[in-house]
Amino acid sequence: MSLDLFVQSIISGLSQGSIYALVGLGFTIIFTVTGIINFAQGEFVMLGGMFSWAFFTLYGVPQVPALILSVLVATAIGAVLYLLAIRSARKASVVSLIIITIGASIFIRGVVGEIWGRDFVRPPYFTGENSLHFLGASIEPQRLWIVGTTIFVALILHFFFSRTMLGKALKACSVNRIGAALVGINPRTMSLIAFALAAAMGAIGGIVTAPQGTTWADAGLMLGLKGFVAAALGGFRSQVATVIGGVTLGILEQLAIRVNWGPFGSDYADAIALVVLLLVLLVRSGKLAAEERTS
């Protein structure tokens, strides 16, 4: 592989990986506060993109308000998801909750497909299409938006969790739910906030990436999965590690396309994310099992 291609892969991987990082951050938030893996996380990303397209293209809302509105509506849906589906399932087992979120993701996908069809759509770019040139590779402004937004969001989250009262309360819940309740933090409110926050993040990820590719009703599935890998790489705890994990995954994928796999063909790049996932899970299984036992 030539240097050119290598650099190109890194750069593409960076922006693609940022998407995964954003989705992963959403997973991490919900997991740390509630202990639930939200299988519907990918759908929030899809909703962000679809709403921004719908508001702008179908309902004629100007671009910036359309973006903000998309995030707000998606956040509301996240809150509703928590209130209706999760909170109602009191004392449900982990398995039940997994299935509930899977059901919710199927439901959301179905509704979106019903309202706007299953065709592929693209909302407009933030600042236009013309590429910038950098180190012999070309970059579109939208990519910079993606990377920039991811870094920005990660920093805000970090600040939020470590410096603000609310953020610390959320973290308290994740460390010890009962202890948090004892000092006056309402775990259920915290869970609600966590879901809303994760939905918002997913939506932000969606609005920033949809112009780059396209989006459609079923976009959430693979994105959710890859975001999960990013979160897993980050151990489901650290925002920074999740971002690094996501970006690493993105770069690995791009490199994998370039490698000659011998008799197998270059189509195995898709499997990279999954293999990484399995490796991470299995390698960390001892530590993860210990955590499960104590929580």
Partner: protein
Amino acid sequence: MLERLKRRWTYLAIAAMLLFLVLIPFDWFLGQYTVLMIFIGIHTMVTVGLCLLMGYTGQVSLGQAAFYGLGAYFSAILSKTYHVNPWLAMLMAAIATGAFAYVIGYPFFRLRGNYLAMATLGLGLIVGILFSQLDRFTGGSMGIREIPPLSIGSFVFNTTLKRYFLVWVFCLVTLLLAQNIVRSRTGRALRAIRGSEAAAESVGINAAQFKVKIFVLGAVFASLAGSLYVHNFFYVNPGPFGFLFSVMVVVMAVIGGLASIWGAIFGTAVVHILSDELLIEFGEWDTIVYGLILVVVMIFVPQGLFVGLRETYEHWRLRHVERRAEP
């Protein structure tokens, strides 16, 4: 006395069900649904493995489709490309799939809950990708056509009717096997593990070993189901073996009732009847209703509809008894 009464009712119920099954293919009864019943039979075999796993280990596997697919593809490739006897191919497929499940079982079951779910999800997807990409063997996304049917000597299973009975014989045998296991030492050990893994281990039960056993069993059942699938429809491609099918199996298990063998048939039947018969009238609404049902059932009846049905029945019976007892 109650035990004897209960047992008599159980036998009656089983006899009624068998009669029902035998009569279905007849045109004057429900013959038009024969193909539907074939699917239900095949899918029940996949579901029962998951029911056992979920019911007895409390863990979920989102990758059942992988084993189903492995059975299907092994059977297809061996019997069509290498002209192996289809029965032998089915056996080889089951052994290969079971061995595979065994090998990955130990490392996988060191994980729990969400992590295991994700690992099985990843497994399912990787296997699915392999099906599409190893196209020299699997025919890629085009798949393999003209797979030979099963036959015993000169009796070929080439009509829907014959295949219906074949499938259901397999299905019922599978269910009986599962029932046996539940009642055996293994079943008791599993129930102990479900109660408290630490306690079970303290009396010398190797929890990991039992969990893997159940996992492998489920994989073998699914593999047999996959083989039956290809010998019924003569065509295989990666389509039916993806994540969506794994989810469907979970739905069928959940609706049926975890840890319930007969619940597996119930759940599979409900899901199929709903999605194949009723919801196709609504066109694209079926995914919406699907998701909704999943959520609602898990919230209100998390132990599964079948088990919940039994409990509801008990509930009403008790109330009836109470009322009778009042002066």
